[in-house]
Symmetry: C2
Subunit: 87 residues, 2 copies
């Protein structure tokens, strides 16, 4: 499964929605918005949480079991949203 699969990412993202929102607009005060963030950035951060290169109480636990495919799909899902400044 070399291609990123945003649909599988959406499935996987159900466990992220509590803090990051269903469409990547954060629900929790300390959680970042993920919607529209660059795919490479999102994948890199998930891998950093998984490896421990980046630490966060919640994210370190959540990222641990993710496979590379999960990470690519999640990154594809959240980066698939487009955001704009509210003028």
């Amino acid at each position: 499964q070399d291609k990123q699969d945003p649909k599988a990412g959406k499935e996987k993202a159900q466990s992220c929605a509590m803090c990051h929102g269903n469409e990547g607009m954060a629900q929790m005060p300390n959680a970042p918005h993920l919607a529209g963030q660059p795919t490479a950035y999102l994948a890199e951060q998930l891998k950093a949480f998984r490896s421990g290169a980046r630490k966060n109480e919640i994210m370190s636990v959540i990222a641990k079991p993710l496979s590379d495919a999960d990470i690519d799909n999640l990154a594809a899902y959240y980066s698939s949203f487009e955001i704009q400044l509210k003028r």
Copy 2:
């Protein structure tokens, strides 16, 4: 200067604009959008880059000389933008 000062933050953010854009919409593929991110999240990440708790080639260098006031002002500036999903 206990209150966050987004105007001073805008001044300081001139050195961030190359990657993160003037209004926090990223210009570089691997740089995250900062616009509309929660103030506490932004401040926490800048402090992590400054202390080395979070590592990034560019950000570690840029965050090093920032004062707490700089960090609060930058966080206030970027979080002052509102973002929405492009429907």
